[in-house]
Amino acid sequence: MPLTKAIKNKLLGLLQKSKAFLSLSKAEQKAMRKRLLALSEDKALDVIAVLEDEQIKTEALENDLKTYEDQLAALLPALKQASSHLQKAFIALQEKEDSRSTDEESQALLEELENV
């Protein structure tokens, strides 16, 4: 028994939203669509359930991915900031070491002069 128009429309609508279906070639989509529309109502409803399930899960995954991608994007300025802090801290450390080294050299020179 042919599918009702409502089921057909539902099925076709879901197929158009299905990323899996859309990943097929046009010829494959055509053949698949033809076969699915020829299904019995019970089987078509099963397929609809599959497609709806895909849609729900895919949306959840997309949301998760979006969250991750937002986190990824936020990491770039954070890393740049961390790098900037690191550089400044290192420069300060170097200057301190340099200063200490200079002090030691000066002290050594003074002692040397005193001994002359």
């Binding site: 899996a20 990943s23 995954l61 900037s84 400044k88 290192f90 450390l93």
Partner: protein, 882 residues
């Protein structure tokens, strides 16, 4: 001193201008130069650029801290004390063996003889003018001429008697015997002193009887002895001792002093200063370990050690805090990237599942058509005629969908995701140790490994397929790992696994190369084999998209035996899966239901996955090639003719089969798979449904360049025995008593080998068992063997949770995570948990117990040679030992 550091720092940031050497003010934009004007790079590239830059920056800082701050003074005291000790030793040796000549004139002749025979060339020994010491001694020892004395006495007696006769006195008689010269002298001195000639006689007698002065000779002998000693002419003299003051040799110098010169003045100071240097140097090396600068948990300890070493300063603390903040961010980045990959994989799997479901739904139609097909066949219409073209459109292989999911163009998703996906296929990224563990287990369970069985005819060869357990012992850098594989005899075999990659090492793994050494006596035999593993190298729990899924894998790894799971309602699907993942050379055989036609699909070349260029762009891949052959016989009882070889195809799908006049068995119930009845589960399926999969015996020949030996010597018959904690003494006794290579010596004779002592102490501490006879290995090999055996026995002991927690200094949260991951019962059985390893590394640390679950790493040095505090086993482990 700091100019180099500034230069490196500038280069790390792309500041090459010399003027940047002076940092008057902090740089405003540390990342200047990373971004090209007017061009926005993809996020992934920007992140990578920052990571690369800051990693270089941290390396510069590390070098600055460690290299520019090494306290050179640590070396000098050690070197000075070594030189002092060396002088003392040589002085002592010189004193001990220096030649000296006796002052006693009685020995002058013997001395002269020695000098003449051994030191004739020494100045002062012989002299052309007769003044050499030998000549002087000869002269010294020559007795004066008695006859001249006698002549003087006779003359004196004649003149005296002549006078006495004139005076009418009685003449006297003077003895001419030399022994009487003294009496004669006395007589003359008393009675005839004033007589003419008396003085000459007395002089002659005095000259004859008075000893000569040896002082000149004695002085000369002293000088000659000095010359001989100073110039090393004495063959008995010890060669000068040289103690290396090269810091690289300090450890051996220390042992040399300890073993040979500990009682020489200055030895203690030398040992103390060397030990001080070695301790400081070990600290430097430890701090230089890059792993301590990558992990946030480790780095906090590193930071504290750096502060301890260099002293606290606000600048240092801020630098270290900045590094730690960066490490945390980097770890977060890694987690986020991996999360993205997982979601990508889930999304691809979702698409795959949907397509499979749609195919399955469409298959209902196929079933109907198949039914029609049967009817038509029953009516006499040949089945080949039922290869309806419209059915081909329905055949959408899951393999092609998978490939599509993998081959999505980079433009469809952020570039870093594509790159991340490839990273996930790298060993480190799959899931750490656990994934690698899985990997090697799968590798060894793979049908191809069964080719090793072919070498069973070689006596004593290892059958790796029978290996019992695996543990990662040491990381050897990217792409290569070393495992220790313990076989069913509890023998330990180190196996190095190198992952071959396509695309110049950047692409996905394509093969595992395994090599392992076997040692018999002193001979080491290296074995190698190569296994094409693209199917399951890519498999992991987190990654079902690539290659096999878990279910398929479980099936495939058993295909070297009759496998009931293969009998399924959709055998072609399984066959497809098999061919998709099987190694090159594998084939399946299909037979028509009437038994007259047979097809063979052989996988000629392996599929090589994506090739990705340096920018992460997918540039292509190599599809597998399949050869499809067919043969027909007239009657089911006839022998099969030769296969008719057809052209190879990169597809074995229905279309390909059709092109070879091979019907699509999946939709043609007139066709069936040929095969034997399953042996394990005969109730499943029927003979008709069973497919026979022929696994190639040796599709890629392993390289066994030399005969395979028997592996490590078996230590004792009790090796298969398990010991519980309370039986440790028994276990140790078994090790000690049953190893014929272990030497038995008395306790007091072993103190010359620190290593040996450590083992003995270990045994004692571990067991409380003081052997009446001590098992004392006396060579490195035996020591290692004993250490291994000791570790093996410790491994058999269960550790309670509380002991583990204390032993590895784990905080509550970490420990809870570990326990959750282990999912084991009470306590821990080291035998069944590969997170624990005993590592025998005499160079680094001796015997190390390491806990590494892929996320948490902790080590306890059980015994460290040369460490006065060693062994420290097991101070923390006493509770479980008791």
């Amino acid at each position: 001193m700091f100019k180099n550091a500034f230069t490196c720092f500038n280069k790390a940031f792309g500041f090459d201008s010399p003027s940047r050497l002076v940092f008057e003010k902090p740089v405003e934009n540390p990342l200047a130069g990373l971004e090209t004007q007017g061009e926005t790079k993809p996020l992934g590239q920007q992140l990578d650029a920052v990571i690369n830059t800051v990693d270089g920056q941290i390396n510069t800082i590390k070098n600055f801290l460690l290299k520019n701050n090494i306290n050179k003074a640590d070396i000098l005291p050690a070197q000075q004390s070594i030189n002092t000790l060396e002088n003392n030793i040589n002085e002592r040796n010189r004193e001990k063996t220096a030649i000296r000549f006796s002052n006693d004139p009685k020995t002058f002749a013997a001395t002269a003889n020695i000098l003449k025979n051994k030191y004739a060339d020494v100045p002062g020994v012989m002299d052309a003018n007769g003044y050499g010491v030998i000549q002087l001694i000869a002269s010294y020892n020559t007795a004066p001429d008695a006859s001249s004395v006698q002549g003087h006495i006779a003359d004196f007696e004649y003149n005296l008697n002549k006078k006495l006769k004139e005076q009418g006195k009685k003449p006297i008689t003077l003895s001419l015997e030399p022994k009487d010269f003294a009496a004669t002298k006395k007589l003359i001195e008393e009675d005839y002193k004033d007589e003419p000639g008396a003085t000459e006689v007395l002089k002659a007698i005095t000259a004859y009887t008075q000893p000569k002065d040896p002082s000149d000779i004695q002085a000369r002998l002293v000088k000659i002895a000095e010359y001989i000693n100073d110039n090393g002419l004495n063959p008995q003299q010890l060669a000068a001792v040289r103690l290396s003051s090269d810091p690289a040799n300090f450890r051996s110098t220390l042992n040399q002093i300890k073993n040979q010169y500990s009682n020489v003045s200055g030895a203690k100071e030398a040992m103390d200063t060397i030990n001080a240097y070695l301790t400081a140097h070990a600290e430097e090396e430890a701090l230089n370990d890059s792993n301590l600068w990558k992990d946030s948990k480790n780095f906090e300890k590193t930071a504290q050690r750096l502060i301890n070493k260099f002293g606290y300063s606000e600048e240092l603390r801020q630098t270290l805090d900045a590094i730690k903040a960066y490490i945390n961010l980097k770890e977060k980045l890694r987690r986020v990237r991996f999360g993205i990959f997982q979601k990508e994989a889930d999304r691809a799997n979702m698409a795959l599942t949907t397509i499979e479901e749609l195919n399955k739904a469409a298959g209902i139609i196929e079933g109907l058509l198949s039914k029609k097909h049967k009817e038509e066949q029953a009516s006499g219409v040949p089945y080949a005629a039922l290869s309806a073209p419209d059915l081909q459109e329905v055949s959408i292989s899951t393999t092609s969908i998978k490939q599509r999911a993998l081959d999505r163009k980079p433009s469809e998703k952020p570039l870093e995701q594509a790159r991340e996906k490839l990273k996930v296929t790298e060993i480190k990224e799959i899931s750490g140790e656990e994934a690698m563990h899985e990997l090697i287990r799968h590798a060894l369970a793979h049908p191809k490994v069964s080719v090793m069985k072919a070498a069973d005819i070689v006596p004593g060869r290892k059958n790796i397929a029978n290996l019992k357990k695996f543990s990662i012992e040491e990381s050897m850098g990217d792409g290569q790992r070393t495992f220790t594989v313990v076989d069913t005899n509890n023998q330990s075999i180190p196996v190095t696994v190198r992952v071959g990659r396509n695309n110049g090492g950047q692409g996905i793994p394509v093969a595992l190369e395994l090599s392992w050494d076997e040692k018999i006596g002193n001979a080491v035999t290296t074995h190698q084999t190569r296994i094409g593993l693209e199917d399951f190298v890519l498999y992991s729990k987190q990654d079902k998209t690539y290659g096999m899924d878990e279910k398929t894998f479980k099936w495939a790894k058993k295909t070297n035996t009759t496998e009931e799971k293969f009998v399924d309602t959709d055998p072609m699907s399984k066959a497809e899966n098999y061919l998709a993942t099987a190694p090159a050379g594998a084939h399946i055989t299909l037979i028509s239901g009437d038994g007259l036609t047979e097809w063979r699909i052989t996988k000629e070349t392996q599929k090589i996955g994506q090739f990705v260029d340096d920018k992460g762009e997918v540039v292509g891949g190599i599809s597998p090639k399949f050869r499809i052959e067919k043969r027909i016989r007239q009657n089911p009882d006839d022998a099969w003719p030769q296969w008719a070889v057809n052209e190879s195809s990169d597809d074995y799908s229905r279309a390909a089969l059709d092109s070879q006049s091979v019907p699509d068995v999946r939709r043609n119930s007139a066709l069936a798979f040929k095969g034997d009845k399953p042996t394990k589960n005969p109730d499943v399926g029927s003979q008709d449904e069973k497919a026979k999969i022929d696994i190639p015996k040796d599709p890629i020949s392993p390289v066994f360049s030399r005969p395979i030996s028997t592996g490590p010597t078996k230590l004792n018959d009790d090796q298969g025995q398990e010991y519980i904690g309370s039986e440790l003494n028994k276990a140790l006794k078994a090790i000690v008593a049953s190893n014929p290579d272990i030497q038995v010596e008395k306790l007091e004779n072993i103190n010359e080998h620190e290593y040996t002592k450590g083992i003995l102490r270990n045994i004692k501490e571990l067991s409380g068992y003081i052997p009446s006879i001590s098992a004392l290995p006396n060579s490195k090999e035996k020591i290692d063997k004993a250490m291994w055996a000791l570790g093996e026995q410790i491994r058999t002991i269960g550790l309670t949770d509380s002991v583990r927690k204390e032993l590895f200094d784990l905080d509550d949260k970490t420990f809870a995570e570990i326990r959750a991951n282990e999912r084991i019962g009470q306590g821990l059985d080291l035998r069944s948990n590969n997170s624990f390893k005993f590592i025998v590394d005499s160079q680094k640390g001796g015997l190390i117990l390491r806990y590494d679950d892929g996320r948490n790493v902790s080590e306890v040095v059980i015994y460290k040679p040369g460490d006065p505090g060693s062994p420290r086993p097991l101070r923390n482990m006493e509770s479980f030992l008791n």
